[in-house]
């Protein structure tokens, strides 16, 4: 695979290392891409004057104009479908879907056109577009604002699916996704938008379609992504106090999956816990379980366990703390794995 590397300097980066929120890192990353390539355009509902409901596109329309930052009609199929036409015309559209639960009016265009045009034309048409989706729960919202629909897209051939969990990845991964000649679904952990971290703006920490081991350990491997990364890291810190050593891997890419570091880890620990907000049935977590049992069959000391959202619609928000994987549920799964 031709994994793109990103090492170009950007004018939006006066200091090499900045402390940024995920939201600001995404904003800076979008700005850097727009400065580097005049064909990059941003389109979505309220992304212009308002700067998006989460302010991810704040100030971009003011600086790049209404023709590069489009306040679109309230029309998700339109956002995706028009972006397809713009991509064919030579643009690199970055679409914002306002909330995870609103992507479904655009689902037909994503599955039928975005995912298949390259294959249909055997490479004569490329669809270099990014679909940004704030996803996941934990913000006390009404229905349709807290969902984790990533498995639908990972299940669809022709799409690539990534998710960031920290400001440095947010800054670099969005630029790498925009540079990618394949369509990329870019899932952003909305409840982590305002968490801060250091961002080195001089060089990308690595290629886009790679998972990353965030913490090494010897007892149990924990694989996770997006908003659950912080939960898993906190669980690992708590487990350490009890003398248990967890290895935590941030998947970053959900399609294609980069599971080589997971296999290597599970062969050492013999135990795997997968943590996601998405429901478990027919999901990223079930795919990981299937692949790991195939690749690490003789290394496993316990079955692969999953800590996920339940197989229900996302509940009313007063119940979401029960629904979402938290530190205690992760530790409980670790205990079960070790006790097997």
């Amino acid at each position: 695979m031709a994994a793109p590397t990103m090492d170009r300097p950007t004018s939006a980066a006066p200091a090499a290392v900045q402390t940024l929120t995920i939201a600001k890192a995404l904003n800076n990353g979008l700005r850097a891409s727009m400065e580097a390539n005049p064909k990059v355009i941003v389109m979505g509902e309220d992304v212009g004057k308002l700067g998006g409901v989460f302010r991810i596109t704040d100030g971009l329309q003011k600086d790049f104009g209404e023709q590069r930052v489009l306040d679109t009609p309230l029309s998700e199929s339109g956002i995706i479908g028009a972006a397809v036409g713009l991509a064919i015309r030579g643009y690199r559209p970055v679409c914002e879907i306002q909330f995870d639960g609103f992507i479904f009016p655009g689902f037909d265009q994503i599955v039928s056109q975005v995912a298949k045009l390259h294959y249909r034309t055997q490479g004569r048409l490329k669809l270099p577009m990014v679909i940004r989706v704030p996803f996941g729960g934990g913000i006390g919202a009404v229905e349709h604002h807290s969902e984790s629909p990533e498995s639908y897209f990972a299940h669809t051939a022709g799409l690539k699916v990534v998710t960031c969990s920290n400001p440095a990845d947010a800054y670099w991964m969005i630029q790498q996704a925009i540079d990618c000649d394949d369509p990329v679904l870019f899932f952003e952990p909305k409840r982590r938008y305002y968490e801060k971290g250091e961002v080195d703006t001089t060089a990308a920490p690595g290629p886009l379609f790679r998972s990353r081991t965030l913490r090494t350990g010897t007892d149990v491997t924990v694989v996770t992504y997006g908003p659950s990364v912080r939960t898993s890291m906190e669980a690992a810190a708590a487990a350490e106090e009890e003398g248990r050593s967890l290895e935590v891997i941030d998947l970053r890419t959900l399609s294609p999956l980069d599971l080589a570091p997971v296999y290597e880890s599970v062969r050492r620990t013999g135990r795997l816990v997968v943590v996601t907000e998405a429901p478990s049935e027919s999901s990223i977590s079930s795919e990981i379980a299937a692949k790991v049992q195939q690749e690490c069959f003789y290394s496993l000391q316990a079955p692969v366990l999953r800590v996920t959202g339940f197989d229900t619609p996302y509940p009313p928000s007063k119940l979401e703390e029960e629904f979402l994987p938290d530190l205690d549920r992760v530790l409980h799964a670790v205990d079960r794995s070790l006790a097997w």
């Binding site: 994994a3 029309s75 339109g78 397809v84 036409g85 064919i88 037909d108 045009l117 048409l125 022709g158």
Partner: protein, 397 residues
């Protein structure tokens, strides 16, 4: 429009979606769709081959140009009939006939300039012809060897879109790109035309395409071929009012043209594309025509429409009226018509030969070009499958 309180349902006596009110004879005959386009229909050549004037749309056409349009229509009809026969002989899995829609497609297609862009549905074999796509290049889709092999960038003819209405939004985006590129505003500009049917007008994507093109002033001609039938459902099942009248609600012009009249279709589409190039888009054209054959070779129209209706439309055949006019004007002689027939026969032979010799793709084609930048997980699956498959080649299984 009256206030909501005064609004009343148009009722059964109002003008139906397809046409003016059916005649008593048509009702007695049991016809559900009517053959009359109504008072707003733009027509320049009557079914009897008489040239008529229109106050807003007219066209200066030379004998050579009209012979060219005639040739186009005869050849695409021959391609269509041959492909239909190839399906009956088992050489194609399915075919989507264009029979009856030759004038709508040749008129619209010949109105385009090379730099204009077209987004077809899946019945646009006549548009393909005008874009320089070889008829043989359509076959693989229906034989199951590929999904269309023409170059959509070089021909400016997008791949066939099978999901109803999707391409309308893609066309809106493309037309927005033309505008963003500064290609709109004078007659050197570019425009886009997208094709869809009466059934597609019920799709959300068509509505959204209308909205998007309108609010961004996109240089886009919406070309709706109302062939009266969406498989088994008449246009009345899609709309209360004539389709071209929908444009008004979106804030752009809608025109109903006789889709069996190649001159009228050419004139109206040429005008509409020029308006779009000048920055006055979008525009909706409803080409009022008739699907003279089945929806596809898998369909059976005898289950839902009367043959009387087809007989009525045969009298409005798009090719016959041009032939009559050419003869009346003495613009073509018997030798001309025979030469076109001979050319059509030659194309049919080439189509047959090409079709029956079209090889099945190799198994590895399943995995080809799913991604622009590759995918190691998929490549591993491919390699495993190819290794498995190679085992058979050696006779081990």
């Amino acid at each position: 429009m009256s206030s909501p309180e005064k609004w009343t349902h148009p009722g059964p006596d109002a003008a139906p979606a397809t046409a003016a009110k059916p005649t008593a004879e048509q009702v007695i005959a049991g016809l559900r769709a009517t053959d009359e386009g109504g008072a707003d229909l733009v027509q320049l050549l009557t079914p009897e081959g008489e040239r008529v004037q229109h106050p807003d749309f007219d066209i200066d056409i030379t004998a050579e140009e009209l012979r060219g349009l005639y040739r186009d229509m005869v050849l695409v009809r021959r391609v269509d009939r041959e492909a239909n026969a190839l399906q009956r002989k088992g050489q194609l899995g399915i075919w989507v006939p264009l029979l009856g829609q030759e004038a709508a497609q040749i008129g619209a297609g010949r109105a385009m300039r090379p730099e204009d862009m077209a987004f077809p549905s899946y019945r646009e074999h006549g548009i393909a012809w005008t874009r320089g796509v070889k008829p043989t290049e359509l076959l693989g889709i229906f034989r199951g060897t590929d999904n269309g092999t023409w170059d959509p960038v070089a021909t400016r003819f997008h791949p066939y879109t099978i999901v109803i209405g999707n391409q309308v939004l893609n066309a809106a985006g493309y037309a927005m790109g033309q505008k963003f590129d500064g290609k709109v505003g004078d007659s050197d500009g570019e425009a886009t035309i997208c094709f869809f049917g009466d059934g597609a007008t019920s799709q959300g994507d068509v509505h959204e395409g209308f909205v998007w093109a309108a609010v961004y002033d996109a240089p886009l001609v919406f070309f709706c071929q109302n062939n009266q039938w969406a498989i088994s459902e008449p246009t009345e099942r899609q709309s209360r009012l004539p389709l071209y009248q929908r444009a008004r609600g979106y804030g752009f012009p809608g025109i109903r043209v006789d889709g069996n009249d190649v001159l009228a279709t050419l004139a109206v589409t040429r005008w509409a594309l020029e308006e779009c190039r000048q920055g006055n888009g979008p525009i909706l054209i409803e080409a009022f025509t008739y699907r003279m054959d089945a929806h596809t070779t898998s369909d059976d129209p005898s289950r839902y429409r009367l043959s009387d209706e087809l007989e009525l439309w045969k009298l409005k055949d798009p090719i016959e009226r041009v032939k009559v006019h050419l003869v009346k004007q003495q613009w073509a002689d018997q030798a001309f018509f025979e030469s076109i027939e001979a050319e059509a026969e030659q194309i049919a032979i080439e189509l047959r030969d090409y079709c029956v010799n079209l090889p099945d793709p190799p198994p590895g084609r399943i995995f080809s070009e799913v991604y622009a930048e590759g995918n190691p997980v998929l490549e591993a699956q491919r390699d495993e499958f190819l290794a498995y498959h190679a085992g058979f080649a050696g006779g081990e299984h």
